[in-house]
């Protein structure tokens, strides 16, 4: 299945080291985590490099390493558009969303995105908070469970163990360092993983290109196999717009956006944008090159395990690398999966503890800092275990829900954040209407209209949410007699 080489003790050792390193990092960050603000936001004292790499690697799951390389194998250079959209979106959001959000969230004392919305709109009835919490809990839990499931499936194949044992290992690995170091452990782990992913996605294509005889030979081989492979617009306008539309989801991912709120100085996000974009470009293009090289070296589907193009990364790693690099590369896949799952799990936990328990149920009290910290740690474990159980017992539901997760979160929160920051007439009613519209239109479009129209759900649900915000805000201003 592509993992046979892990039988080599050296490869296995390197692989296990990349898996267990996070726990050491968790232990090292334990002493820095003394309050809820530390646990959820690193005390707003994180370095720009950490924020840049953490924001980038939290956003990239196994979809990048396995999915994009598989896409490039299947469709050729046209797969580039799948990475261009989100890289450009994230470049701008570091500066134009991250910076004002970081500044205002400190001013308001906001620890979560929903804290910020509530204070920004003076929402005493907490409609935004509760609506947003429901959307986050539904989509994020499915997201966490699906990532756990994907990681455990790969782990069970790699180590030849039962799925349940693999889930338990993945769970213990993630929860151990999260409980110790919270956000700080997660962010530093993201940095280590960004480096591991770079090894997989840069060293790999460079060595591969040399072995393939250089770029000219690679493109000529692809052209001989199918001229469409070297025509980046051969995928058609609809697919191209859909690929670029993936980027519309980036500004609304709470686990990415919260990273900007953690930087030690808002203006450092300009430098973070350069570092993050460079890393994003290297990872994205690395994945595309692996797929293209894969096509040239393994031209037929029958050369892939289960005839699955997403296995091309593993096949090439196994064929062309020694045990050390192979172990690192397989570790890179898990690095990608775990760097997403931990940041999402932290958002789920902050939604329960900060958004619902502290700000709704104990709104007029001042719970002790030590109690809040303990509760956050407890909820990380409980929510993590719940996601693991869901990942095992409700796989169909999880995979059905996760289809909508990127789009649903993106359309629910992206337009709401952008309109709050850049459209002065935005009101609370508009934000609530936009969140609900974004989430609902994503689900309905994907379910019923994506097939017949061929249009990617975010391309429809994002503007629908913007429209709902405009209409809801206009209605609210009119009722108040101010618009």
């Amino acid at each position: 299945m592509g993992y046979e080489k892990l039988a080599d003790p050296l490869a296995l050792g390197i692989f296990l080291l990349t898996l267990s390193l996070p726990i050491l990092i968790g232990f090292l960050t334990l002493r820095r985590t003394r309050s809820q603000s530390d646990f959820l936001l690193g005390g707003r004292a994180m370095d720009k490099v950490v924020v840049a790499l953490s924001a980038v690697s939290s956003g990239r799951s196994s979809w990048l390493v396995l999915g994009v390389s598989g896409m490039a194998w299947t469709m050729g250079t046209g797969a580039v558009w799948a990475v261009v959209g989100y890289i450009l979106a994230e470049l701008f959001q570091f500066i134009y969303i991250g910076r004002p959000l970081r500044r205002e969230s400190e001013q308001f004392g906001s620890l979560t995105l929903l804290d910020w919305f509530e204070t920004r709109f003076g929402d005493r009835r907490q409609v935004i908070r509760i609506t947003g919490a429901v959307i986050i809990i539904v989509f994020m839990t499915a997201y966490v469970a699906a990532q756990f499931n994907a990681g455990a499936k790969a782990l069970s194949i790699a180590l030849d163990i039962h799925l349940l044992s693999a889930l338990a290992i993945a769970g213990v690995l993630v929860l151990a360092y999260m409980v110790m170091g919270g956000y700080i452990a997660v962010a530093y782990n993201d940095v280590v993983r960004a480096v591991i992913m770079i090894v997989g996605l840069v060293v790999f294509p460079v060595v591969g290109l040399v072995k393939a005889g250089g770029v000219g030979v690679l493109l000529a081989t692809l052209n001989r196999l199918n001229p469409a492979f070297i025509d980046p617009v051969s995928i058609g306008m609809g697919a191209l717009i859909g690929f670029l539309g993936i980027g519309l989801g980036s500004p609304g991912q709470p686990h990415i956006v919260v990273r900007y709120m953690s930087v030690n100085d808002p203006d450092r996000l300009r430098a973070a944008a350069v570092i993050g974009t460079f890393w994003n470009v290297v990872l994205g293009w690395g994945a595309v090159f692996i797929g293209l090289l894969g096509r040239a070296l393994v031209p037929l589907e029958s050369g892939l395990p289960n005839a699955d193009p997403e296995m091309i990364f593993l096949v090439l790693a196994s064929d062309y690398f020694g045990p050390v690099l192979y172990g690192l590369m397989v570790g890179g896949i898990f690095a990608a999966i775990l760097s997403t799952v931990d940041s999402q799990l932290l958002v789920v936990s902050s939604t329960f503890v900060r958004d619902l328990w502290e700000e709704v149920l104990h709104r007029d009290e001042e719970p002790e800092e030590a109690l809040k910290l303990r509760l956050n740690r407890l909820v990380v474990v409980v929510a993590g275990l719940a996601a693991l159980v869901v990942a095992y017992v409700a796989q169909d539901l999880v995979f059905w829900l996760v289809l909508f997760a990127w789009g649903g979160l993106g359309a629910a929160f992206g337009p709401a954040i952008i309109m709050t920051l850049y459209h002065q007439g935005t009101r609370r009613a508009g934000i609530v209407a936009g969140m609900v519209t974004g989430a609902v239109v994503t689900v309905l479009w994907r379910q019923f209209l994506k097939g017949p129209t061929g249009i990617y759900e975010l391309v429809a649900s994002f503007p629908a949410a913007v429209l709902a915000i405009l209409v809801g805000s206009w209605w609210s201003r009119r009722r108040a007699g101010t618009g």
């Binding site: 500066i95 944008a273 090159f289």
Partner: protein, 31 residues
């Protein structure tokens, strides 16, 4: 072939260059 060369080698450089341009032009105004 030209299109492939552009998206594989020029486009990524342009995107990184854009981030550098934004670094210099998007300075925060003093409030």
């Amino acid at each position: 072939m030209l299109g492939a060369g552009f998206v594989l080698f020029v486009l990524p450089v342009l995107i990184v260059a854009l981030s550098v341009v934004l670094f210099f032009t998007a300075r925060e105004e003093t409030e």
